[in-house]
């Protein structure tokens, strides 16, 4: 389990859930006359000792598809080999073999959900879940339970982890497999299930049948859920094969796991080939207001309060707060939001968390950005009564429905009567939403207009301008002086080099000299970027994946004007044609993998879905 190691007072829900899950597992094992052994320490340090102490011959564990886990497990497998211990790794955290999905998509993870569904529909069904462990199987276990087991291998307590448990609110989500299976059977209750599918209920409150945290922590097998859903569907709907939409949430999870599995930078903008580089603002104060539910927008604050108290929020609520933090209002990086969720959200699988944040901030997956959720209107639409607000922000409980989503607009007399004066008892809204979203839409347009393969894809970016006639595009790769992913020192080097070479340096013009380190560095960079004339800035040495990097929108992006036609005094017609064909050739240089890869991906999608074809065509215009 890859929990963030920092223990803060806020993420106790997460740790509590994990510890409860372990206790539950221990209890289940007790019933089979066994126990759970919790060993403290780093695997690489602890395992060698255990291998000897327990005379281990075989080590089995679940395959972790995330880059961090793959690396960790790789090291463990290698170590086990050295000790002559056989390792057996089984895929069970995801339904499908993710590498197989990638392989079927021309060795790229599918980047649209539709495409993903298409591929999945061609795959054989996921493997069936195994039956629970039996007493018989356990009898063959040789491990002895010593008398001082609890002393040596007990599950840590919250106190031991540094939490003060006095006064902690009771858990809304109780960890453990037993609880997960109870929830599953409630969820699969015929009547509940039918009701849920018929009416698209949207309860913002923690549902007694919610399952996502249990999937994350391995309390519930995704295969068990999959086959149970399939079974009930076939029983009730009498159709032979259920539609993919039945597995909605499970497939989204799978989609993000696939997108992330080979991308160690999936959780950041820099160095992440699928992430659009957006000039987010850094504003710790505003971020804190958002994270602590002090934005002055009751809808946003209630959601963040629920998240902090319970560790779970509805997906519409996630959309609302994610949009507010990023492209909608505050223009703060999705990475900051992702980290807050990672700490507070029980079902924040690394891949799903990062992927969803990129999705919601329009940083990847070809999202339209024209629409920002309104922090007033969206709440009102979701819960017109405002009871959700009253539950999580009790100070606002006496506001009438009309004002509960915008208390600052209530007359002062009403605020006084409600015992809550905005600006005194509850914060004023931290931003003018209309103004903020106007600015942010413009910023997004700026970013997306520079991405040639998005051109025409987005509604707003297609609003025409005479720009090209009046000036050569400014976002010229050859002219941009920096990029977000240029390693800082390289830039400093080159800047210094520029100074060195100033022609009037009366002393001596720089003569290339083999000791000249920065020159030598240049060649190195060229080697690492496989000889392509791309900027060294765009091939970070630390990136293990053999992929071209995304640039900032301005640095490695479609550089129509990197073509000769960028030189201003030229015949226009020719220049334009040249530029256009150049663009066609260079079209996909941005946040995708390599040109070829994207070309293939696009091509493949064209074959599959004409929708993508339209996008491609539009992108070429």
């Amino acid at each position: 389990m890859n929990l963030c190691s920092c223990v803060t007072c806020d993420n106790f829900s997460l740790w509590r859930f994990l510890l409860e899950s372990l206790e539950d597992l221990d209890n289940s094992l007790k019933k089979l006359n066994s126990r759970l052994f919790v060993v403290r320490g780093q695997p690489t340090e602890v395992f060698p000792r255990l291998f000897k102490e327990w005379s281990v011959t075989r080590l089995t564990f679940e395959y972790d598809p995330e880059p961090y886990g793959k690396e960790r497990d790789g090291a463990i497998i290698k170590m086990a080999q050295e000790f002559g211990v056989e390792t057996v790794v089984r895929n069970s955290h995801t339904l499908y073999n993710l590498d197989r999905i990638i392989e079927m998509n021309n060795n790229n993870p599918p980047l649209t959900f539709k495409r993903f569904q298409t591929i999945v529909s061609r795959l054989e069904l996921p493997r069936r879940p195994l039956t629970p462990v039996s007493q018989q199987q356990m009898n063959r276990c040789l491990g002895k339970i010593s008398d001082n087991h609890d002393q040596l291998y007990s599950i840590p307590s919250l106190e031991e982890l540094g939490f003060r448990t006095a006064g902690l609110p009771p858990a809304v989500w109780r960890g453990g497999e037993s609880e997960a299976l109870d929830r599953l059977s409630r969820y699969l209750d015929k009547n509940v299930w039918v009701a849920n599918t018929r009416v698209k209920t949207c309860s913002l409150y923690a549902s007694p049948t919610g399952l996502s945290p249990y999937l994350r922590f391995g309390c519930l097998s995704c295969r068990v859920l999959y086959y149970n859903l399939r079974e009930i569907y076939m029983k009730l709907c009498k159709r032979s094969s259920p539609p993919l939409s039945l597995y909605g949430q499970l497939l989204w999870r799978e989609f993000f796991y696939t997108a992330a599995t080979n991308n160690p930078n999936f959780d950041r903008m820099e160095g992440n080939p699928i992430c659009v580089q957006i000039p987010w603002d850094q504003n710790p104060e505003a971020l804190a207001k958002w994270a602590e539910g002090r934005t002055g927008f009751p809808w946003i604050d209630a959601i963040m309060t629920q998240l902090r108290q319970e560790g779970w929020i509805h997906h519409r609520a996630r959309h609302a707060v994610a949009c507010f933090l990023t492209r909608g209002d505050l223009w703060i990086s999705w990475e900051s939001g992702m980290k807050v969720f990672e700490e507070l959200l029980l079902d924040a699988d690394w891949s799903v968390n990062a992927g969803s944040w990129m999705w919601l901030s329009c940083s990847a997956f070809f999202q339209q950005f024209f629409h920002c959720y309104c922090p007033v209107g969206f709440g009102r639409r979701t819960d017109p009564s405002g009871d959700y607000i009253r539950r999580y922000i009790p100070i606002l409980k006496d506001f009438p429905n009309r004002y509960i989503y915008e208390p600052w607009n209530a007359p002062e007399s009403l605020q006084k009567a409600a015992n809550c004066v905005v600006g005194v008892d509850y914060p004023k809204p931290m931003i003018n939403h209309a103004e903020g979203s106007r600015l942010n839409i413009e910023r997004m347009k700026q970013v997306y207009q520079q991405l040639s393969h998005y051109r025409g894809l987005s509604l707003l970016a297609s609003v025409p301008t005479i720009q090209e006639e009046a000036e050569p595009p400014m976002t010229d790769e050859s002219q941009t002086s920096s990029g977000p992913d240029s390693p800082p020192r390289v830039l400093a080097d080159i800047e210094a080099a520029v100074c060195l070479m100033a022609p009037d340096s009366s002393t001596s013009a720089p003569v290339p000299d083999q000791d000249n380190v920065s020159l030598h560095r240049l060649f190195q960079d060229h080697c690492t970027s496989s000889g392509q004339p791309s900027s060294p800035a765009s091939s970070p040495p630390q990136s293990p994946a053999p992929r071209s990097k995304p640039g900032s929108p301005s640095s490695s992006c479609p550089s129509p004007s990197a073509s000769p036609s960028s030189l201003p005094p030229r015949r226009k017609g020719v220049a334009h044609k040249g530029r256009r064909s150049q663009r066609r050739r260079e079209r996909p240089s941005c946040p995708m993998a390599t040109e070829e890869e994207e070309e293939e991906m696009m091509q493949e999608e064209v074959d599959e879905e004409r929708m993508e074809e339209e996008e491609t065509a539009a992108a070429q215009q």
């Binding site: 000039p279 990086s333 024209f370 609003v463 009046a470 400014m474 929708m611 074809e613």
Partner: protein, 435 residues
């Protein structure tokens, strides 16, 4: 400087020995290559300057700078004017931006050696006031250059608005006075004012083609009139609604004036309950007569109750964006008054479905080719009908899945087939992850 560099390099390779080894490896390889070339009778030294220049144009600045270290000839090419015509200054502070900034030394060098070459310049500025001020400091040093295009672009917050107006104005007027042939100027979200626009007009009226100044609160209708009256070559203009007047439209459609191609209007309410003036139909008619093909792009960020003066008469709007909730009533009027509509985006609407409104838009707006709906509701039947009426001319159809309300005729699962059929291509609603 050189020594400093070497140290850096060494540190980064984890010690001097590693770096040394690599450099030896490289040099032998390089020597071999050179020998080979010499044997073939070719040498890089003899590459004509034009070819080198051509190659350099493909290289990012960083690579050009590295290449310029190779020899005097390459260094000369590095400094050729052709390579310094456009430049984008990126001004970011580490505390407020994740992106890198143009190095101050590089900026100094450009001002010193290349400012007379600069013609197409833009400044990308992060949310901090310091960055905006740095941009203005650079601007005010561009005394011996003649710019053709200038863009001041705030990438996060409108930071130019936070600096002293006088400082901004004096920097901007330096450019206006020295550049006699400015053709494109993007100064959205800045404190530009009437007197500075006068300076712009006095020096650049013959060449100005594009002026973008949305959300510039210090400009008055009189200020923009001065531009419209004098700059007859203006083809694209972006401003806020409060600067739009009948006189402005008449001036832009005068005989002396070239055809306008794009007019972008932001309709933003500065204070709640603001009253908006209306524009006469005759003024719009004059515009359309003069520039029959012009795009009128309008962005609305209004409260529902502020829409009263809008869409009462016919208006030649082509691109319409409603950034906030807009009522059924207003959308109904859009169908009646916007015959030139090409693109429509509705971010939000009340809780009642937009059925009749969409159908009316399909009937009346025969140019409509793109539509986006966010937090709205439409019944599946009405939506299918809408798509059927528009048919294949709908090039972009971006509808959130939640927008579509299943009814007696269509379930959500059916609708994508039905819509795809009428569009002649496969279509799906936009979806958000359930997570």
């Amino acid at each position: 400087m050189k020594r400093g560099l070497q140290e850096n390099e060494q540190e980064e390779r984890g010690g001097p020995s590693g770096g040394y080894q690599k450099s030896i490896k490289w040099s032998t390889k390089q020597e071999e290559e050179e020998k080979e070339l010499e044997e073939q009778g070719a040498s890089w030294e003899f590459l004509p300057q034009e070819i080198l220049l051509h190659i350099f144009q493909y290289l990012p600045l960083l690579d050009r700078a590295y290449a310029s270290l190779v020899c005097r000839g390459w260094n000369q090419v590095f400094h050729m004017a052709e390579l310094w015509r456009c430049f984008e200054f990126e001004l970011n502070q580490p505390a407020s931006s994740y992106l890198k900034a143009t190095h101050p030394e590089l900026i100094k060098q450009i001002i010193k050696k290349h400012s007379n070459h600069l013609q197409y310049v833009s400044f990308k500025v992060d949310s901090s006031r310091e960055s905006a001020e740095a941009a203005c400091d650079i601007l005010s040093q561009l005394v011996n250059c003649s710019l053709k295009t200038l863009g001041l672009i705030s990438t996060a917050r409108p930071s130019f608005m936070e600096m002293p107006k006088s400082h901004f104005i004096s920097a901007l007027t330096v450019v206006f006075v020295n550049s006699k042939s400015l053709s494109s100027l993007k100064i959205d979200d800045t404190p530009v004012d009437d007197p500075s626009l006068k300076v712009l007009v006095a020096n650049n009226s013959d060449t100005l083609k594009l002026l973008k100044m949305s959300s510039c609160p210090h400009v008055s209708p009189a200020g923009i009139m001065c531009v419209a009256d004098q700059c007859h070559g203006l083809r694209e203009l972006a401003l806020n609604y409060h600067l739009l007047s009948d006189e402005l439209l008449i001036a832009l459609s005068s005989e002396k004036h070239v055809h306008l191609e794009h007019l972008r209007i932001d309709v933003v309410s500065e204070n709640p309950g603001q009253q908006f003036h209306s524009i006469k139909k005759s003024s719009w008619d004059a515009m359309v007569r003069h520039s029959p093909k012009f795009n009128l792009v309008m962005y609305f960020y209004l409260y529902e109750e502020e829409f009263d003066p809008f869409f009462r008469d016919e208006i030649p709007v082509t691109h319409l964006y409603f950034g906030r909730s807009v009522s059924k009533d207003v959308l109904g009027r859009v169908g009646l008054t916007c015959p030139r509509l090409v693109e429509l985006v509705v971010c939000a609407n009340g809780l009642r479905p937009l059925d009749e409104e969409l159908i009316r838009i399909a009937q009346r707006c025969t140019q409509l080719s793109a539509i986006g709906l966010g937090e709205c509701e439409v019944s599946c039947s009405a939506f299918v009908e809408f798509v059927k009426m528009c048919g294949e001319r709908l090039k972009q159809l971006s509808i959130m899945e939640e927008v579509l309300v299943p009814d007696h005729r269509y379930e959500l699962d059916d609708i994508h087939w039905e819509v795809s059929k009428h569009l002649g291509r496969v279509w799906f609603p936009d979806m958000m992850p359930t997570w």
